[in-house]
Assembly symmetry: C2
Homo-oligomer: 279 residues x 2
Amino acid sequence: MDVLETRELRYFVAVAEDLHFGRAADRLGMAQPPLSRAIQQLERRLGVTLLERNRRGVALTGAGRVLLDEARTLLDAAAAAARRTQRAATDGGNRLVLATKAGANHELLRTLLDAYAAEVEVLLCGMGDQARMLRDGRADVALMQRPFDELTGFDTEELLTEQQVAILPAEHPLATRTALTMAEIGAVAGLPVARWPRPDGTYEPGPGPEIHDLSQLAQLIALGQTTAVLCASSRWWLWSAHTAVPLTDAPHVTTVLAWPAHSRSRAVAGLVGAATGLR
Amino acid sequence: MDVLETRELRYFVAVAEDLHFGRAADRLGMAQPPLSRAIQQLERRLGVTLLERNRRGVALTGAGRVLLDEARTLLDAAAAAARRTQRAATDGGNRLVLATKAGANHELLRTLLDAYAAEVEVLLCGMGDQARMLRDGRADVALMQRPFDELTGFDTEELLTEQQVAILPAEHPLATRTALTMAEIGAVAGLPVARWPRPDGTYEPGPGPEIHDLSQLAQLIALGQTTAVLCASSRWWLWSAHTAVPLTDAPHVTTVLAWPAHSRSRAVAGLVGAATGLR
DNA sequence: CGTCGGTGATACCGGCCGAGTATCACCGAC
DNA sequence: GTCGGTGATACTCGGCCGGTATCACCGACG
């Protein structure tokens, strides 16, 4: 029942992805006949038809679609397992890798590292990359933010909940206000809200500039070209040309410590313990 | 980098579990030399020492401990993937299997099934078994209860939060009370609180009887031999010889719909949508 | 309606790798 | 020092994985 060899899964994913045995074999660096046979063998062992070979090409069956999903996550998980094992060997098993958005949660990160005595390597990454780093096995824990980051599949520990603020050019008329609403920020003429990339790297359409990282955003705000809504702890990196104005009706942001759900490593447990202690 | 064959993982888990090549080979139904070589090859490919072969037996290195954890979850996930694929083939991909504790959440389950038009097979299982059913691939979704059930690794949708009640024999003096506290329930002479099995099947020590299922519990309560603390919706299966008394200081119980975090099947999505709609 | 291009399946073969047997090297216990 | 037990090594064999050649099928096209 357990008989799913990773080699067969790789083959199946390749075929299922471009629905063409010849091209898939090419991509795998092998000939087409052995690939056909491997898939047939997989189907026989599972007792399931995965691909519908009819006239003009190949189509996935329902079961094939299910296995494609499962196989992708399995292969990812296998690669992550290998990477974590190798990291455990070189680090001695005690060093942790913590992934966090560059520029975010500076103060929290500082206190967290102070509270946890053992060595932690901080891995700064782009906006939605922490989830990938965790799934990859390149990081052990990550600082992530609800509701911005996708937390499915991770265990989490809440660390800090804070208000959101609008970051405005200091000389902007609205910068003198003590509070704003989302509607007001969205409606300012000549100051469109910056757009962050989605997980797939694309941007949703809109008037605001497309942002890649915080330093870029900071400069554009200082130049009076855009504005952004961020959590209150962003004040750590504000320029003198910036002003932060609290938003009364924006959802609160909760920063959480996240780690792979099945991870039971002592080092992770230690950091989580330290984090809950200081909360 | 991806090169973790499931066969090698099976071998490694076997050796790591009993720390003895001969016995592990026996358990795997093979001879010892090929097993030794397979492990060596795995170590070479990873570039990592997994086992410390010193005088008198074998010990896991730090990296070995990590890989043991990872390999177990990978093999479980692989078996689950195979099972889900086979189920998708026989069910046509539309039938869902929902796991729930026998006897719990009857009313909620009823409304949920009414709200979701398509076919759902209800799989009644023992106390902590829903998590295993989901991880196994034997079930697609489950009704689980916070804080009783372990929800790590699952996506969840909250459905219902309710009070807990004490179930008492109807003729017991306390049964006339309109409310009780946890302290009062725990201190009743001659009516020890029933004990549920832990995930590993053992029971924590205590005076109360060891319970396997709700029917057994119901009878013991009716006989005046024990009492239990359950969520309020348990009233659906109470006998006339039972009385439910609200507990003022017990934590509330939240019933959630849970499914594997990576599951993106249309059927699961449909049920979740129906569930959120009726909330 | 026959040919042609392109698909995946089949036949067949060779080489490699995985598995078995026999044996060794090592070490601790008595 | 011998013996029992450990894992590693040497060598052989068989099966399976992969390659080449070819087939069976079908849709397109003139």
